[in-house]
Symmetry: C2
Subunit: 472 residues, 2 copies
């Protein structure tokens, strides 16, 4: 792009006009100039002197996938604890938690065995997390395609018993926020197996949870309803889902599916925590966090290595700038978000038992993409008032492309809501997330250094404002 | 991310709170509901039925790099003309233009030949576009490092003559808008060779124009000042620039550089144009465009295959929706933006000769990333009034993450400014652009389908509003 002479002109005149809310109206012009200056310093520091990208490199390339209960998850605990130790925090500790230990076993096989038109066709699939395996001889049965859990209810035992149920409702590609598209389809993955088992299905195939058409299968957790038999569930790629659906339009299709995944005994693991004690209100905690565990495919780079290293970078950056917080700043890397939330639950319990007060908790668990702002959540009786207060800081955040909206903070921090503070979720650009989510493609190379660093800077800026002004 | 039970909750409650400007205040609530509905339709259509991604696949994978004067550039003209012919426009035509024909020749060699510490070290470099080649025996000379054109002036003949000047000022990584970082460094690439030649330099090396540290050299155009000898210029990677700079801190360094690039005779080429005649004001033109040519490295995917297919997709989408414009909508794929602007100049001249009026022109030439809005430019005497008018449409664009700011429209449309309309540049997220810009890495795989389609939808939405309401 850009022929030179015009380009220079362009860059000189490219002055973004952001809504110029007048802070002077609040009679606080000087103070807010100081805030703008400090936030600019946070971004400068995060884009030039953060260790986040190096930490992510180790987590993804040297350690790799970090499924709860795996040796890699233990390595990640050890490594991040060591890194927190280098930052000069007041305290660093491990918080024990019990986690499930699921294993994928041998590569899954999904094969159309009866197509008159196509002969034998292999479909690319991966078992859903927490799924049981098939019998050693696999399962061979006729496939019935459905679009929803309701379809299964309607087909009932007559239509379902003895069959493999194939959930094929796609993510809605017209959703601008791809998390909404995900939310509109993920019940098939989470609850599809038990719903089908209720009517006697032998197994389920699930269309991968992604916005596009591609050849990468997406795992993710399912949850068995204890009232029905646990039957095996395998996600197939969106391209293969389309193929299978086409075959089913023309003829009855039998599929062979085989998996050897299994749930082992629970393991002990840890949340990794570091904090800086507040100088004026140490009893008010501001938490930043992500989750250390990942699925066993890929490297857990966006989900959620990025969130972990961003959270560590928040404390690193503030310390590098010589900032001494009034309130207690705590970085928490949670264990077992993906398939049990063991770390989150242990943290909430300990925190509530100690009657802690989290003034705010910020989770980054939507990928290391360019930040667009934060979603915000809280108890009904405090939310409106506190959210209004946070909205007054928008003019300081908008120059960095950040907005605020109502929405969940994150799975790992949700149990802190009852403490009466606010929960925030970093909200990055969501277009690419489901290209990688829960797949072998979630690798270090797909994380852009600047985009991820800007997410850390956004979190640090919000932490700074929360710490300086509180919420009351 | 997201344990299932919480996730479903999350997606249900994630309602983004955008500034709710009340359109009802204008007494136009009904009309603007209609506009919101139509724009939603544009996005739905662009995200599900656009051919943009397939077109981009052909441009990049089947045709490839499209340097002005090359056979591939001719193929791109032919292909995009054919694709416009399929859309059902009123007129499709080719507009002749004269373009330079530069050739890179054999792979460039840059080698440190004198380092006591390192021995012989090969640096990864590519000649800058429009550069002359070295003599067949190459150039071997001592290197002098500078940070700016001013440094060269200060060193003068005594410090420069007989040497290779190494421009090593990096892009400022703290700029949130990476185009600003680019604008702050690119004078070294564009004007560095002639400035050094003024004082008798034999050649120049230029640090690649990218925000990060990597191993990919970035080409791009230089411009020779006819008052001084044309000396060869080669861009080296940012990692190699750092290495060379370190060596220079410790000892004198001699470098051998060799290139065989050359400028051939000008060629005839074409802008590719298609239009839909306006039903009420055919004399008012709304242009959407990008540039067909690219550098000879990579596949010209982001720069600017994306802009071309987005521009075609704007007309395709509006026609698919059955929209009949009041004003004339014209898609222009310009030739030779990268090293001469031959296509742009031919278009401006023809348009001005015919006394055409471009009510608006929108260029996409900043990569196929998630759109964040538009920059807008115009003649001083009309800009404020017309820009205010466009700003009234913001509430319709903000739900799609789009804003408006003052800034250049784009190199290819800049010559239309004197017609008194507005120029717009699509402004996408800029963090990744300089990972790919002008390099072998600018490939189809780096373009996310949804991000690129959303750019086309953003352009189509603005076209719709411009067409429906005009600017007066």
């Amino acid at each position: 792009m850009f022929f030179l002479r015009l380009k220079v002109h362009f860059t000189l005149c490219l002055i973004f006009i952001f809504p110029l809310f007048s802070w002077a109206q609040n009679g606080k012009a000087g103070q807010n100039d100081e805030d703008a200056f400090f936030i600019r310093g946070i971004y400068d520091q995060a884009l030039t002197h953060s260790s986040a990208y190096e930490w992510l490199h180790v987590l993804t390339k040297k350690i790799g996938a970090r499924l709860s209960g795996s040796p890699q998850a233990a390595a990640a605990v050890s490594y991040t604890r060591q890194m927190l130790d280098t930052l000069g925090l007041d305290t660093v500790w491990l918080q024990p938690c019990e986690v499930p230990h699921w294993e994928r076993g041998a590569p899954e096989v999904v094969r159309v065995v009866s197509s008159y038109k196509m002969g034998s066709v292999t479909l690319n699939g991966v078992a859903l997390g927490n799924s049981v395996g098939t019998p050693p001889s696999g399962i061979t049965a006729e496939v019935v395609e459905v679009q929803s859990l309701n379809d299964v209810d309607e087909l009932g035992e007559a239509g379902i018993a003895g069959k493999i149920v194939f959930y094929n409702r796609p993510l809605d590609p017209t959703q601008i926020n791809t998390f909404r598209a995900y939310g509109g389809a993920v019940d098939q993955r989470g609850a599809g197996a038990s719903r089908a088992a209720r009517y006697g299905a032998l197994g389920v195939l699930v269309r991968s949870m992604t916005t596009g058409l591609d050849d990468v299968p997406h795992t993710g957790s399912l949850r068995y309803d204890p009232n029905y038999p646990a039957i095996p569930a395998i996600a197939i790629t969106t391209n293969d889902a389309e193929l299978l659906s086409k075959l089913l339009e023309e003829e009855a299709v039998r599929v062979y599916m085989h998996s050897s995944c299994r749930m082992l005994a629970n393991e002990m693991s840890y949340n990794v925590i570091g904090e800086i004690k507040g100088s004026e209100h140490p009893e008010e905690i501001i938490l930043v966090g992500g989750h250390l565990d990942s699925w066993d495919l890929g490297e857990g780079a966006h989900d959620d290595g990025a969130g972990c290293v961003q959270s560590m970078a928040v404390l690193q950056t503030l310390l590098q700038l010589g900032y001494r917080p009034k309130r207690t700043l705590r970085c928490v890397m949670f264990m077992n978000e993906e398939n049990g939330l063991g770390g989150g639950r242990a943290y909430w319990k300990a925190s509530n038992d100690k009657k802690e007060y989290h003034l705010a908790a910020i989770e980054s668990d939507r990928g290391g993409f360019t930040p667009r702002g934060f979603t915000c959540d809280g108890e009904d009786n405090v939310f409106r008032r506190k959210f209004r207060r946070v909205n007054r800081w928008l003019p300081l955040l908008e120059p960095y492309g950040l907005g605020l909206s109502q929405g969940s903070g994150g799975a790992d921090i949700n149990g802190l809501k009852s403490q009466g503070g606010l929960l925030f979720g970093l909200y990055p650009d969501s277009q690419r997330y489901f290209d990688y989510h829960h797949t072998s493609a979630d690798r270090f190379e797909t994380v852009n250094k600047r985009e991820m660093e800007m997410g850390a800077a956004a979190m640090a800026s919000l932490v700074y404002l929360l710490d300086k002004y509180g919420l009351d």
